[in-house]
Amino acid sequence: MSHSIASTDFLKNEEHAKWHDETLWMIREKRDLASQKVPEWENLRTLASSIKEHVLSNLDHLLLEFEANATKNGIQVHWAKDAQEHNQFVLDILKKQSCAQVVKSKSILTEECHLNPFLEKNGIEVIDTDLGERIVQFLHQPPSHIVLPAIHLKKRDISELFHQKLQTEKGNEDPYYLTQAARNHLREKFLKAKVAITGVNFGIAETGEFVVCTNEGNADMGVHLADVHIACMGIEKLIPRRNDLGVFLRLLARSATGQAITNYTSHFRGPEKGKQIHLILVDNGRTEQLGREKFRNSLKCIRCGACMNTCPIYRRSGGFSYQSTVPGPIGSILSPGLDLKKYSSLPFASTLCGSCTDVCPVKINIHEQLYEWRQEITKANPNYAESLSMKLASGIFKSPLAYRISGFLMRKLIINLPDSLLYNPWNVWGKGRKLPKAPQESFRNWYLNHRKDEQ
């Protein structure tokens, strides 16, 4: 399904679409306020972008340094070429621990790898412990936003869901009450779990440690109660030194939610006595993306979600309309690299307004990459009708005479054709809009009559 069909569907519920737009805009406004409190904000963005530039240019050395230091700290490092290898590593570790139930804090990478369905197929129950993720998991839905997984749902929906799943009082929509119910439910799962899975926000090459940021403390709760910690990390999540971390931590939460910092910023350096930490480093198309000169910058992403909150299209179409793990503007430049055909409509789901680029804390030129993907997509999947009309237009634009004739015809048609023909069902423009009132003469004709003689 193309993005435009999915978004048309989303907009059918006008009231919900308006609420979705306003809720995310509110988060964008919080981000604005938080970032304005940091006078050196723009310098931080530039610095973060440069650090990531350095990482991308030295990824091979830095990854080896990271592996060596992590191993020295007692972390067991695994290299996964793709999603399948990643999932198999996780399954093997779980099997070795005879673990049939695992708790997992938020990790977009494991969504990207479709880890949950894989583990479930292999008889393992996965409990997502981030509140939003648990909610969408109950509904058998993927997250619709990378930071706010259940942002497409309203309090009423969650109250209804919790009534069915957690036997909360019917109709009680009090957020505190509902959160408390989720806490009690999750607490029970935490206490039983022998293995906990987390994502990774930052891996630090210099120290071999990694950092996980959450607001709910669910990553820490899972990890500290379990014997085995499996951390899943995309290879681009690396930073060179611990000194660099502050730059990113100052940008991340402010960009994501407008908080100064996430409630929990946890550093994992090595396993406690008698416990294990497994770190899975996942490529899954990242090396290929690194090799694409026009698109490599997309790997600087720190997954703050600010581009989604600011995007007028995302806000009005919802995360599911993108049908990719990472939705929104950043998803629309990452996903075509994974499957060009499947995600071919995404780079066109943009007006190229550039707000995503201006909001991005690591200065990814997102809207320019959307434009570049369009060029790649029309080369790879030519739509013959469109391609022909473009060729025709290209001929018209280089020939002044052809251009004048076509412009003249267009204007005359609009003046003379009855509305019933102009606003027929095939005319998409005219469904919700009038055509411009065509003037009697073009500017060129006017100029010829009024100015040309003087020159």
């Binding site: 435009s4 723009e42 007028p312 707000s355 809009r433 009038k434 411009p436």
Partner: protein, 251 residues
């Protein structure tokens, strides 16, 4: 500038030529009033942006060459469209694999209000007693950098509004969302029709609530889309391109 009249090539975007000749006239008259020597190259066509944004940049090389051969002889190239100027300025050097073209274009091609501000240092004198709603067109705002976008935390500036600082009676509408896109986006307006309409309606609501009497912008394309929605809904927010307003004030 006072001594020698700059020779300005007037670049009138294709849709302005066909549908909004009054915007072309206003642009021409402003430049003439400000003592420029203005020529309108009669063989100009479209800059190629609609094709390029649709993913067919590679088919626009001839259009780019044609544009440059029509315009490079002038001291300046001026157009009442931030979007078309942005396309020529930011994309032509890349499309034509000619990086040296960049500095030439940087010094030559300007959106109308940018030219009035940067080159002619104009301070408009006069009266315009209306509450004006300024729609910040994305390619003028973020593309050409005519003002500070709301996302960026640098010192505020606005080249467009600063032109009007001395104008009496003019009040700018205070919008809830100062620079959200109108949803036109060229072929986006038909490819993603539902969102395009929704975005347009939201912009219009913002302007209606702010008490906008006249809606204006650097770009007629945004205004065309917004006016088309108004017309369909039989509302009647008057629309004027900035060139028409400026031309009216300085007449």
């Amino acid at each position: 500038m006072a001594q020698t009249k700059p020779h300005v090539g007037l670049f009138i975007p294709c849709y302005v030529d066909q549908f909004y000749p009054q915007v072309g006239k206003a642009t021409l008259e402003i430049l003439e009033k400000l003592n420029c020597n203005v020529s309108y190259p009669l063989n100009q066509t479209c800059c190629g942006q609609p094709l390029a944004n649709s993913g067919y940049e590679r088919d626009t090389k001839d259009a780019c060459q044609h544009f440059l051969s029509s315009f490079l002889q002038f001291d300046f190239i001026v157009s009442p469209s931030g979007s078309c100027v942005h396309h020529v300025k930011e994309r032509y050097p890349k499309i034509l694999h000619d990086p040296e073209l960049q500095s030439l274009l940087d010094s030559k091609i300007f959106e109308l209000t940018e030219f009035l501000h940067d080159i002619l240092s104009l301070e408009i004198q006069g009266t315009f007693s209306h509450k004006v709603g300024y729609h910040a067109s994305c390619h003028a705002l973020r593309g050409l950098g005519l003002s500070k976008s709301s996302e960026v935390n640098t010192a505020p500036f606005d080249k467009v509004k600063s032109l009007f600082e001395k104008v009496e009676g003019l009040e700018w509408s205070q919008l809830q969302r100062s620079d959200e896109c109108c949803g036109f986006g060229g072929t986006f307006s038909v490819k993603e029709e539902a969102i395009s309409l929704s975005m347009g309606k939201d912009r219009l609501t913002d302007h209606h609530e702010a008490g906008t009497e006249i809606l204006t912008a650097t770009d007629m394309s945004c205004l065309m889309h917004l006016q088309a929605i108004e017309d369909k809904n039989q509302s009647s927010l008057p629309v004027m391109h900035l060139a028409e307003i400026i031309n009216q004030i300085i007449s």
